[in-house]
């Protein structure tokens, strides 16, 4: 299939043309790509952080007698990378689940773009432009990479089911439009070789990338990432960092991420909130948090 359009003068807008996969196939597979974290840091200085876009106020969540979250408040500003850290069981994922409506907190409110909610409804959250990825992946393993990412476009498909099933008329045009968008994401995440591969056959690191791609397909304003780098090797982590920073930088997407790897968190986030046993024990820039005695004791333990 060939088209003769738009090659002579590609506009600079949109994701960059022809992003290349890092040349890591040779060199015993131990060599790390030279890009990643360092470059992201160079560009952080130039980005503009806006007003508060998401405000979580006094959230409390209990499962029976277990208090998962106790009176948590924190805010997320537009275009920033906001990290949530804490030891296992601190309530990080519960907090994300409250934000995108999987759990309903007993107390507290969540304000998104000026609208205040007592609890969020998953569908509504997605419509408002909040997308998320999952700690344990939530992909259709038997479906191809393209199809998985296309599911992220579901909310934006307007033609009716019947037309879509037959792929005729407006449905076909619409699908082509969405496919084009998805191709930009594939290019952006450098997964061109796997377009048609069933997701279940891909290595874990790549599945994570597809999961991210599906969230991106929603064109989110806020991206919630639940441990995007868990279980990855150093090289995969570096690649993932680069993608998170590039998303934040190129599209201006606000990113809220849960992460365990302190190196990653301190490198890429603008502000960090620290949870421990459902309480918030720290909030601020990576440097503030690093020097906060309570945070140090939660992570390293203290002698009493």
């Amino acid at each position: 299939m060939t088209t003769t359009q738009a090659n002579a003068d590609r506009s600079a807008a949109g994701p960059s043309p022809g992003a290349k996969a890092p040349g890591t196939s040779e060199a015993q597979g131990v060599a790390a790509h030279g890009g990643s974290v360092v470059h992201g840091v160079t560009s952080v200085g130039a980005k503009k952080i806006g007003d508060v876009i998401l405000d979580v106020k006094n959230i409390s969540l209990a499962f029976g007698g277990v208090k998962a979250l106790a009176d948590i408040s924190f805010d997320v500003r537009e275009h920033e990378v906001r990290a949530i850290i804490g030891p296992n069981g601190a309530g990080k994922s519960s907090l994300l689940n409250c934000i995108n409506g999987v759990y309903t907190p007993q107390h507290g409110t969540i304000t998104f773009r000026g609208q205040t909610f007592g609890h969020m409804d998953s569908h509504q959250v997605a419509t408002m432009g909040i997308a998320r990825t999952f700690q344990n992946l939530a992909l259709f393993k038997g479906m191809s990479v393209i199809d998985n990412i296309m599911t992220g476009r579901n909310l934006r498909m307007k033609s009716n089911l019947f037309l879509q099933a037959l792929r005729i008329g407006p449905a076909e045009k619409e699908e082509m439009r969405h496919r084009e968008f998805v191709e930009h994401i594939i290019d952006f995440l450098e997964i061109q070789p796997y377009r048609k591969t069933p997701v279940g056959q891909l290595p874990y690191g790549l599945q994570k990338r597809v999961d991210l791609g599906r969230a991106l397909a929603m064109e989110p304003q806020v991206l919630l990432l639940d441990e995007p780098m868990a279980g990855m090797n150093l090289e995969e982590k570096q690649d993932m960092c680069r993608f998170v920073l590039d998303i934040n930088d190129e599209y201006g997407t606000t990113v809220v991420l849960i992460e365990h790897d302190m190196g990653v968190v301190m490198d890429i986030s603008d502000r960090v909130v620290v949870l421990d046993y459902g309480r918030k024990i720290g909030d601020g820039t990576p440097d503030d948090v690093r020097n906060n005695p309570e945070v140090i004791s939660a992570y390293l333990g203290t002698s009493h």
Partner: protein, 648 residues
């Protein structure tokens, strides 16, 4: 008919405006660029470059993978009488310093952030380097370095200029003479600094045409451009011959999608170094082993038929009726689908060069009906010196001298070449030029070889590497290290080999196992291993390699001339030889002398009769960091055979 590259571009743009010149896969779709569009893009780039101060005779480095805009930039530089210098895109930043300073380069084209970073990194050593144009803006949005400009900006600037002075482009192109310098290629250089090989429009185009004539290439060919543009071979196939013939060059989506793209494009004219053909075959064999029993049996049966019938068929010899029928059946059931799966079903002419190709590998491709041939040439000769005619392809020769080429074998066995495609000079290096290109017009190839009874050229080794043993059983016997190494490398389990023996009493070899092949072999035998280093030192693996070595010895012993090159001792290295560590050249050739210095203790241990040796090696990662690998390596003796002649 003498001409220049930009003039050829204008000719195609005028005669075949809408015909595709290049295709690039982007966003999942092959996007075509017509000759007319390409000429427009080149015009805009040339005008932009002129405004930026690029003048006749200026050099411009071009770093990146095969992209239409990279080739357009090269054409734009040539249109202004400038000289593009393509550099290897996977080289480390420091390797760019010498070429850039040697050729006083100011202008640079970089494909993406990775390349821009490398150029910025060496700016301290190359302060004149500005402007740097980049094609892909991703990640570069917030770079504030001076002189860093998007190619889109350059195009805009150029378009505005072209509107005001529409004749400028044509006038500039007309100023160029065919014997002007067209491009410069830095040879990877196994020793010392790289040398800039200077070629004129004439020398490149003459050879491009001679090659095209030899294989009757037309404007209908499809070519996949996937090797580094800095390598003259890629430049000939996807630039010189592209403009000479006017065929379509296809640029893959990314380096990792080449095999998929190959299948989609189905090139009719294809070039690959032996290792690519080997990789393709390995992937087929691995998948065959997992296929159902019926398919496996069918494959084995028909491959046996192909082995028997195929080569004769390709050589145009008569084949019996039954064999013809069996082959036709096999073609329908096995060879056809296989060629299709490899992406080679439309290949009319396929070449391999750069390294010796294993006879089995060579025969495999020819037997399934792929017209795979060998050629001989180098950067200095603009590639085409010898080519194999369609019906005379053999694994151990490199073909006959083609139109315009004269060949002579010097007394020391060195091949001398006279051809219109010879280099003009080595840039700013008159001594090297005088050494390679003697005043009587012969180019000294440094290759030792001879012309065989059928008029085919056969290459043994580099002249300087051919040595003699001293002392021992084979005193004063000829030693051709490359010949030995290649024989070893024909085994799938051996990835690299480095042979020593000149001035010594016996031949010893350092061996690199092929991690994929040996790893697969180990898994099938339930042999656990913890990684490359561990696998390499397994006694079972040593036995496997020892068998290979002894087979090579048996083979060598049959050759009167080279029986002395039989291998006495060998060891398996704990890490893969790597261009990043300086052990291989960028074109993946072993740097024997460097390796001997770096692994001095190992070589000493081989000759000192030790049975094991500890070694620690520093390795460089692609991001510039380094680490170290250490291991105690076993050393094994191999059986050598009495030369047949002597025994008889």
């Amino acid at each position: 008919m003498q001409t220049t590259f930009p003039r050829l571009l204008l000719k195609h743009a005028a005669e075949r405006t809408a015909a595709p010149a290049m295709r690039e896969k982007e966003y999942g779709i092959w996007q075509a660029l017509s000759w007319g569009q390409l000429a427009g893009m080149v015009q805009a780039l040339a005008c932009g470059l002129h405004q930026a101060g690029f003048r006749r005779g200026d050099h411009m480095v071009v770093v990146g993978a095969n992209r239409p805009r990279l080739y357009a930039t090269m054409l734009a530089a040539q249109s202004l009488g400038g000289i593009p210098i393509p550099l290897y895109q996977d080289a480390a930043a420091t390797e760019y310093i010498f070429p850039i300073n040697n050729a006083e380069v100011r202008f640079a084209f970089a494909e993406d952030q990775e390349q821009v970073d490398k150029l910025l990194e060496i700016r301290a050593q190359c302060p004149q380097l500005s402007p740097i144009y980049f094609d892909d803006p991703r990640g570069l949005r917030n770079y504030l370095e001076p002189g860093l400009t998007s190619l889109d900006v350059l195009l805009e600037l150029g378009r505005a200029f072209a509107l005001k002075q529409p004749d400028f482009f044509k006038t500039e192109i007309d100023k160029a003479r065919p014997d002007d310098v067209a491009a410069m290629f830095f040879t990877s250089g196994t020793t010392g600094h790289p040398k800039g090989v200077v070629h004129t429009h004439d020398s490149l185009l003459d050879r491009a045409r001679a090659g095209a004539e030899f294989d009757q290439l037309t404007a209908r060919e499809e070519v996949l451009a996937y090797l580094p543009p800095a390598w003259i071979g890629q430049n000939i196939f996807s630039y010189a011959q592209w403009l000479a013939c006017g065929y379509v060059v296809n640029c893959p989506e990314s380096a990792s999608t080449v095999t998929i793209d190959l299948k989609e494009v189905g090139p009719s004219y294809y070039f690959a170094p032996p290792r690519v053909f080997e990789g393709l075959l390995t992937s087929v064999m691995i998948r065959m082993e997992d296929a159902s029993a019926l398919k496996r049996r069918m494959f084995q049966y028909f491959m046996a038929v192909a082995q028997r019938v195929g080569p004769a068929r390709m050589d145009g010899k008569p084949v019996g009726l039954l064999d013809r029928l069996l082959y036709a059946l096999g073609n329908g059931l096995v060879y056809g689908p296989l060629r299709n799966n490899l992406g080679l079903s439309r290949v009319r002419v396929a070449y391999t060069a750069g390294e010796a190709i294993g006879p089995d590998l060579f025969r495999f491709y020819r037997s399934i009906g792929i017209n795979l041939k060998q050629l001989y040439g180098s950067t200095e000769t603009a590639v085409f010196v010898c080519l194999q005619p369609d019906h005379e392809a053999r694994a151990d020769t490199v073909g006959i001298p083609i139109h315009g080429v004269e060949i002579k074998v010097a007394e020391n066995g060195e091949i001398l070449v006279k051809s219109p495609g010879l280099l003009k000079e080595y840039y700013k290096n008159p001594e090297a030029t005088a050494e390679a290109l003697t005043s009587d017009g012969w180019y000294h190839t440094n290759d030792a070889g001879f012309i065989d009874a059928h008029g085919h050229l056969k290459i043994i080794d580099r002249v300087k590497d051919v040595g003699r043993l001293q002392g021992g059983a084979f005193d004063a016997a000829m030693f051709a290290p490359k010949y030995v190494e290649n024989k070893l490398k024909f085994f799938p389990y051996i990835k690299e080999a480095v042979a020593y023996g000149d001035g010594r009493e016996k031949v010893c070899v350092l061996i690199n196992i092929d991690f994929d092949a040996v790893g697969n072999w180990a898994e099938r035998r339930n042999l656990p291993y913890a990684g490359y280093t561990d696998l390499a030192q397994k006694p079972e693996v040593y036995q496997l390699i020892k068998d290979c070595v002894e087979k090579v010895n048996a083979d060598l012993s049959k050759d009167e001339l080279l029986a002395g090159s039989q291998i006495s001792r060998f060891l398996i290295l704990h890490k893969e030889l790597d261009a990043d560590d300086g052990e291989l050249t960028r074109t993946n050739k072993v740097r024997r002398g460097f390796i001997a210095d770096k692994y001095q203790p190992l070589v000493d241990a081989l000759y000192g009769g030790k049975t094991e040796q500890f070694i620690e090696t520093v390795v460089k990662f692609e991001d510039g960091r380094s680490g170290s690998v250490s291991a105690t390596l076993r050393i094994e003796d191999a059986q050598t055979f009495t030369p047949l002649k002597a025994a008889a």
